[in-house]
Amino acid sequence: MPPALVLDNLTVAYDRHSAVHHLSGRFEPGSLTALVGPNGAGKSTLLKALTGELRAAEGRIDLGGLKPGDLAYLPQHSALDRTFPIDVLEMVLLGLWGRVGPFGRVTMAMREEGRRALSAVKLAGFERRSIASLSVGQLQRALFARVLLQDAPIILLDEPFNAIDARTTADLVQQIYRWHGERRTVVAALHDLGQVREHFPQTLLLARRCVDWGPTARVLTAENQFRARGMAENWAASAAICRSAVA
């Protein structure tokens, strides 16, 4: 069972303008949460803060004893080089990094595990294909296989279904369910509210501040969404220094 992820009065800022503002709450162990909000609401920022890529300007994140590297994180725009001469299986095996590190041996059993991960995302037979030959959807499947191999207790996905067709999305949602069934904590930033209502029990509606956080049916009301839109839009170039909650 993973530890709970606790946010305590978390503020993350770019150039001192806060992108996530005084956010407190917890992702329960084994919960499946959709992170929802308009563009610029701080969804990606929150995920990056959880992975340790961005520092908190105020407040703190409690990973319950885990290191940021123990989390699996799939960014919205992967920085990976799609023209790099590497094949799909090798790419997926990078997910073993936490276990083998820079110098450890990759055993036959581990390679087999990589093949199974590829079958799980319906890419069996693609092992030797170069990643340059994959479509966007196939690449996303392969990246899910890499997350699978990371075997992390907490999984963060930033808009994993952007530009992905319906069938691939359905397959990958199944994978998210399997993670949920294995009692892993999953947090996914999403735009498709229908998808969220259908598949995600918990929702955090974010508009730099927390609009609401709880069971999806309670959070995704028209009123909450209207409030979220208003809050995300009032970004001010000459905002005053925030003095709230300097406790």
């Binding site: 340790g52 920085a79 001469p85 094949d87 990094w97 820079p102 110098f103």
Partner: protein, 290 residues
């Protein structure tokens, strides 16, 4: 008989030709894999800039002790590492992207180097520093080149996985806690070392030719990382040998001849290579069913 005279006799007869051949072979083994990683990192021009950046350091060594292998190598090494570190730090601290910093450093470095050498030395010295003289490689220089090639292959093999991962998906490596910056700097140190070695034989303006041309040519043929590196080494060897034979028979300077031989391989690869122009053109008319 004629073939023997053409291809083998120069090396059988003259010790300086044998030495030059061994030097180019060793350079091919070190520069080949390093060049491939530079190409894959989109840092081909950075290699070029780095090769000029070692000039002022070598020039300071020249001022202190004349055309001395040790002084010029140490000077070049220090200058190269300083530029590699400096550009990396500057690009993090300012808005300038890394290649812009490199371009700025390189112009200054080349000018400063030429000025320093001309100040105390003759035109012959300057030509030597700029274009090298692979035929004048002595035992010490040969040992240096061989040592660098050995170190490159051993260290490269040891840090292969983190280096390639950092090259392919730096964001992922950072997230899982791999120290990408450290391996990047280790790699840049290897680049500088190989350029200093190549500098002995080919001079500061030609050194990068033996690093980049075989690697770029290999990219037009191979689609796997290991085959890219192997082919890059093979092209480097072929260019070294071909260039030396050419320079011997036609009586042209050996450094440019070697680089031109590498250039000829590049042009052929451009036309004939699996990812080259001709195949791409033909491939339009034939495709698989699935």
């Amino acid at each position: 008989m004629a073939l023997y005279e053409l291809l083998l006799q120069p090396f059988a007869e003259f010790a300086f030709m044998r030495r030059a051949l061994v030097a180019s072979l060793a350079l091919a083994f070190g520069c080949g894999p390093v060049g491939v990683l530079l190409v894959l990192r989109r840092m081909s021009l950075v290699g070029d800039a780095m090769s000029h950046a070692i000039l002022p350091g070598a020039a300071v060594g020249f001022l202190m002790a004349g055309l001395s292998l040790g002084w010029m190598s140490v000077g070049g090494l220090l200058a190269g590492l300083a530029v590699a570190l400096g550009s990396g730090l500057l690009s993090r601290a300012t808005v300038l992207p890394e290649d812009a910093s490199f371009a700025a450093f390189y112009a200054v470095a080349l000018a400063a180097g030429v000025l320093l050498v001309s100040w105390k030395g003759s035109n012959v010295d300057l030509m030597h520093v700029l274009f090298g003289s692979v035929l004048a490689v002595d035992d010490d220089a040969l040992l240096l080149i061989a040592a660098v090639a050995t170190l490159t292959l051993l260290l490269g093999a040891a840090i292969y996985r983190p280096l390639v991962t950092e090259c392919f998906d730096p964001g992922f490596l950072r997230q899982v806690g791999g120290r990408g910056g450290f391996y990047h700097m280790a790699f840049m140190a290897l680049v500088v070392l190989n350029l200093v070695a190549a500098f002995q034989a080919l001079g500061t303006l030609m050194a990068v030719g033996l690093m980049m041309l075989p690697a770029v040519s290999a990219r037009l043929w191979a689609t796997r990382l290991w085959s890219l590196m192997a082919l890059s080494v093979a092209f480097g060897i072929a260019a070294g040998y071909g260039g030396l034979v050419l320079s011997f028979h036609v009586d042209v300077p050996s450094g440019p001849a070697i680089v031109l031989a590498a250039g000829a391989l590049y042009v052929s690869s451009l036309l004939l290579g699996r990812e080259g122009l001709l195949r791409r053109h033909l491939a339009r008319f034939r495709h698989l069913e699935a």
